[in-house]
């Protein structure tokens, strides 16, 4: 397994999908309740996408899977995502 990076690296891939910079958005972790900017999360890239984990408790916040015709974003680990305007 490759070494992890952090949520800053999601800015490019997520710019394909969202018109705002989601790395500045704050997520509340369902596992531990921590609220942090997505930039602070831990990101584990793999050939099909990214697993994004809470920097405090390591629970999965988000999984991004890139498929030939679509991108699947699973948000099982977030209670909410607050996007600055």
């Amino acid at each position: 397994m490759g070494e992890h990076v952090d949520g800053n690296s999601l800015a490019g891939p997520l710019s394909e999908l969202f018109a705002v910079d989601l790395t500045m958005a704050s997520a509340r972790c369902l596992g531990c309740g921590d609220v942090s900017e997505l930039a602070r999360a831990m990101v584990y890239p793999d050939p099909t996408g990214y697993v994004v984990r809470c920097s405090q408790c390591d629970d999965v916040l988000m999984v991004v899977v890139q498929e030939p015709d679509s991108v699947c974003i699973e948000l099982r680990g977030m209670a909410w995502l607050k996007v600055p305007r």
Partner: protein, 253 residues
């Protein structure tokens, strides 16, 4: 109910950062035995602030594409972008950028990316920069922004490199700059007579050379993942508020 037609929706102005721009290499400069800086002209780029990065996309003759992220060393409101890249021995993209790329070559760039690990001259207060290896790159952009803007925010840099030869931007950092204090840390080979024996950055280095937690500096740490995590842990142990410590990891090395 009245809604935008599909056509109107699709004709909406495209979001600037999600686009790939064609960039042309203007010049390259050797920074170290393994790294170099690359200046690109990227029509439509439109400028970036200090600390942001770009995604680079390379397409092989057979159509295979590789995308990598690189920090931007420059700050501007125009279409010039300076990157600096260290060659990763097992890398797929960095050996090409460091060894092969020539002025006039084209690359695709997407950005500027990332609004979190950034410094702008409007931010008041002391700034502590801590870089490991090519982690200096976004911090160099912050130093250049600080200098160009005439900001009076006190800046300090701790820059950890393997040996004196491995430093990026050596001459620029060795030029005395008002409001900037630079401390060099060598992990494997130090210059002759250097007071500190070579070794990885420690809590004592941070306690001795970085702004104290009591000054509440904004702290930016960038480097390989292991470097960033040991520094961030040490900063919190020294009493720095975790919310004031921003980190950017670039993985291996």
């Amino acid at each position: 109910m009245s809604t935008l037609s599909e056509r109107e929706t699709r004709d909406a102005a495209p979001h600037r950062i999600g686009l790939w721009h064609a960039g042309v290499v203007v010049s390259t400069k050797t920074e170290s035995p393994t790294g170099r800086s690359i200046v690109l002209d990227v029509p439509g780029w439109g400028g970036n602030i200090a600390g942001q990065h770009a995604d680079l996309r390379l397409t092989a003759a057979d159509g295979y594409q590789a995308v990598r992220s690189y920090s931007i060393a420059s700050v501007s409101n125009g279409d010039r972008v300076e990157l600096a890249v260290d060659r990763l021995p097992t890398g797929e993209v960095s050996p090409y950028l460091v060894d092969e790329l020539r002025p006039g070559d084209q690359l695709e760039l997407r950005g500027p990316l990332g609004g979190w690990f950034v410094w702008t001259p409007s931010l008041p207060g002391a700034v502590q920069l801590i870089g490991g290896g090519s982690g200096i790159v976004p911090l160099m952009a912050m130093i250049r922004s600080h200098t160009a803007s005439g900001s009076d925010a006190p800046f300090r840099l701790l820059y950890s490199v393997r040996s004196p030869d491995d430093a990026f931007f050596r001459s620029e950092l060795d030029t005395p700059t008002p409001g900037l204090d630079v401390t060099w840390l060598y992990t494997r080979v130090a210059p002759e007579g250097w007071g500190r024996p070579p070794g990885r950055i420690t809590v004592d280095d941070l306690a001795g050379s970085a702004f104290a937690a009591s000054l509440s500096p904004a702290v930016f740490v960038c480097g390989p993942t292991g470097f960033v995590e040991s520094v961030a842990t040490a900063l919190v142990a020294l009493g720095h508020d975790p919310h004031k410590v921003k980190t950017e990891r670039f993985g291996g090395a």
